[in-house]
Symmetry: C2
Subunit: 325 residues, 2 copies
């Protein structure tokens, strides 16, 4: 048994159900454009019945990062809960087919596999209505020295704090990581998620987290700052490595006295911004686990993010680094 992969992801295992919609559809289902809303199964059935023909593909923020990291050539593993239904089979297949070591077997019973209804308007904006299902049954017992192994880094998704045992299981994961010398990275997921769990996140960042990956809004929500300048000042009080994406302003890496500014790539045509942050994280961590300088990590992250927004679909395709220079 070799548990020494470079990156282990712990996150919500979700299959995306994607459909193009007219703007009025969001009014009809009373959804805020661009938002991510957690819904129950009744609401999921209702929305699915109303929405048009869809395409299904594996998704989930940190799951996308792990898949992308594997496609870059990194060795990786994954902890997330699906049920042994067809969507769970799709999720685990897609992970395993990339060489990702899926650490949890699909559950024989319990709630159905999670799905996110992703409603795309003509301008490319995505509104997500997510039924977490099986994810909500991820438990403290799923996080063990055996399922964790001894990865070089573990990447935990902020959304995991939304799960009933989320705060406890992430605490356990950080404890096991500390014992094994595993670096802990935290993705802040989205600014609403940060607002829901701000104190827990700040506590985690101050005590168990080494690397924070986030976009500018998420870091502002964490630090309760208004401007980016104010944010940079507030970061003075933290030892962590922060990798902060800023959309067309590029990204900024802050670690102690180091401040690295990476410009965004010139983009010919934005096709679909979904997954840009997850892809950046995949590239950044790929550089990091391979001991590259931080500036190079940021450059690879930017390359991955730029590529993903010029394609349909959130996950990095295999062989991407062949085009990297």
């Amino acid at each position: 048994m070799n548990h020494s992969v470079q990156l282990l992801g712990i996150s919500n295992a979700i299959v995306d159900i994607l459909a193009h919609i007219e703007d009025e559809f969001l009014d009809k289902i009373v959804a805020v454009p661009g938002s991510m809303t957690l819904i129950d199964m009744d609401r999921a059935r209702e929305i699915y019945a109303l929405m048009g023909p869809a395409t299904e593909m594996s998704g989930g923020s940190v799951a996308n990062t792990v898949a992308g990291f594997a496609n870059l050539g990194g060795s990786s593993a994954y902890i997330g809960r699906v049920t042994a239904d067809q969507l769970g089979g799709i999720f685990n297949h897609d992970m395993r087919s990339l060489g990702v070591d899926v650490r949890l077997q699909a559950a024989k019973d319990g709630l159905p596999t999670a799905r996110s209804h992703i409603l795309i308007t003509a301008d490319g904006q995505r509104t997500m209505q997510t039924y977490l299902g099986a994810c909500t049954e991820l438990s403290v017992d799923d996080i063990t020295t055996d399922t964790m192994g001894t990865p070089k880094a573990v990447l935990i998704e902020g959304y995991v704090w939304d799960l009933p045992e989320g705060p406890d299981l992430t605490a356990k994961a950080m404890e096991i990581a500390k014992q094994n010398g595993t670096t802990v990275a935290l993705s802040l997921s989205d600014s609403f998620c940060v607002e829901r769990h701000r104190e827990s996140f700040e506590h985690a960042v101050r005590t168990g987290v080494d690397i924070v990956v986030a976009d500018e809004d998420e870091v502002k929500a964490l630090l309760q700052t208004e401007s980016f300048e104010e944010t940079l000042e507030a970061l003075d009080g933290f030892d962590n490595l922060f990798a902060i994406t800023r959309s067309d302003k590029g990204s900024v890496i802050v670690h102690g006295d180091q401040l690295i500014v990476q410009a965004a790539d010139a983009i010919e045509a934005v096709v679909d911004t979904t997954g840009a942050g997850d892809a950046y994280t995949a590239g950044f961590l790929y550089g990091w686990v391979n001991d590259m300088p931080l500036a190079e990590c940021a450059k690879i992250g930017t390359f991955c993010g730029s590529t993903v927004i010029q394609q349909v679909g959130a996950r990095i395709e295999p062989g991407l680094l062949e085009d990297y220079s």
Copy 2:
């Protein structure tokens, strides 16, 4: 109860599982490039385990035509068998969301819903490995005056002849159609399918079928001709309306003394040829059920086929005719 839709489709109800592959993958699984092969569940599991991350979407040849026809604004219904599993739910959802009247409930038991593993090489060629599952349990009893209703036209898929009760249930469908004055259209599916069932197809065409939709190779296989000139001569012996697609040579409509030649549209860039024939059929039949002249039917069919090959995905999107002139 209003069963008087314009078009009823009877076909294999299949969810596509699409993945990009390297050329070597086809050697590895011993598949002929560009072929459609029927496989059993063990083989389906084996291929799925070997193939990379995939995207799932509803498919099936005549099902694509019916979905496209609905998106053009036609009223339609569908008979095809799925099981009440998640893939069956996806298939029926996608049909119903287009306003297609799904005439069979998902089966409570029996084999799982059919899926076609569609393996796409870098040049865009598709190799299909299809597990028919629930489709093989479509029975003569599923075809009744109630499930058939009184559509203006029924479109039957050649592949249905591959099913155990296929020859009997299609005979019954043609008999009910005759009683109700419903026009019978037959899609020849693929030239290998025609070779498997040539005599049955010829018998059907001579006795119960009014319209034959097919590509040039399929018609040649049916008539056992070599050249297109020879094919046109052989068609002299048939009363049927033939709508024959010829790829970049456009299409030819033959009906009695009428011969209509429709040129292909100029194509800027072929993205994905899948579904071109099915989309042509949707457009052609949309014109036909709306009593348009045959030349106009061919023109709409061509427009639909041309559009589909310039997009990813086999089904016509809603509102297509807004761009038609």
